[in-house]
Subunit: 157 residues, 2 copies
């Protein structure tokens, strides 16, 4: 399958990855969550090729994940800020960060610590159920096809 066909699959993960699933986008968004907003700052922190950065930022704006906000005129300069849709990616990104903390630990402990402002503690991201509030893991969930889902091949029962 070609990558540009992914967004037309009837799967939410495919659609999500069509928007943010290339090699650089999540790293760009990590920077955005750390309040990096300017082209040169993204470039310096990520050591990403300028052409690729330019292209990805444009795509993220088009997708409504970032928006361009002018911070000066003459010459016009824009910065990139997370939209509501962008901020909604936080749980996914924090889960990936904590997975890395756990499975690729560094000698000195995690490179970034996260404090929950409401309770004041450093914490790990936990997944919980929107209905009962209890913790959830892979074994505690059953996936069922929703409407219009295509047939699939050979899932072992």
């Amino acid at each position: 399958m070609r990558w540009d066909a992914l967004s037309r699959e009837d799967c939410s993960l495919s659609k999500t990855l069509a928007a943010i699933g290339d090699r650089w986008t999540l790293l760009i968004l990590r920077e955005a969550f750390l309040r990096v907003r300017r082209f040169e700052a993204f470039e310096a922190n990520l050591k990403i090729a300028r052409r690729v950065l330019s292209e990805r930022l444009a795509l993220l704006v088009e997708e409504g994940i970032l928006r361009k906000v002018p911070y000066q005129e003459r010459p016009v300069r824009q910065e990139y800020r997370l939209t509501r849709k962008g901020l909604d990616l936080y749980p996914a990104i924090l889960s990936l960060v904590h997975w890395g903390d756990k499975h690729y630990p560094s000698k000195n402990g995690p490179p970034v610590l996260h404090t929950h402002l409401a309770c004041g503690h450093d914490f790990r991201a936990m997944l919980s159920c929107s209905e009962c509030g209890e913790a959830v893991d892979a074994r505690g969930v059953a996936a069922r096809p929703g409407k219009g889902r295509k047939a699939r091949v050979a899932a072992t029962p």
Copy 2:
């Protein structure tokens, strides 16, 4: 930066994405969570090029995210199953799926519904604090550098 240098960055997200951050791997893992285990089944569901699938599966095994389990001999046939480390990716993947459900909705509702076996309800993934159990969002978290973190450029205060 070259992609193979990513895993040496002192950032957990970089290390995570070095393992699973290419264009296909999360889709392969989605299939694995849906209990797809065989080469031809991954290929048929994903329409991925065989060479790429072969390479990605090998990398996931090397990373300890999948393991090969023989399910017959003569001829030897292996299937791919999630390890503990692989299962630990569930929160991140479910968060991405639910982000797609929300921001790229289909007419008939989500293509896959998730039931929390413990309480019996269909649910959405929520991020909560490991310390106090309350819900967490991007605005409610402060990131602080841990030890040995390199200097960064131009995060707007």
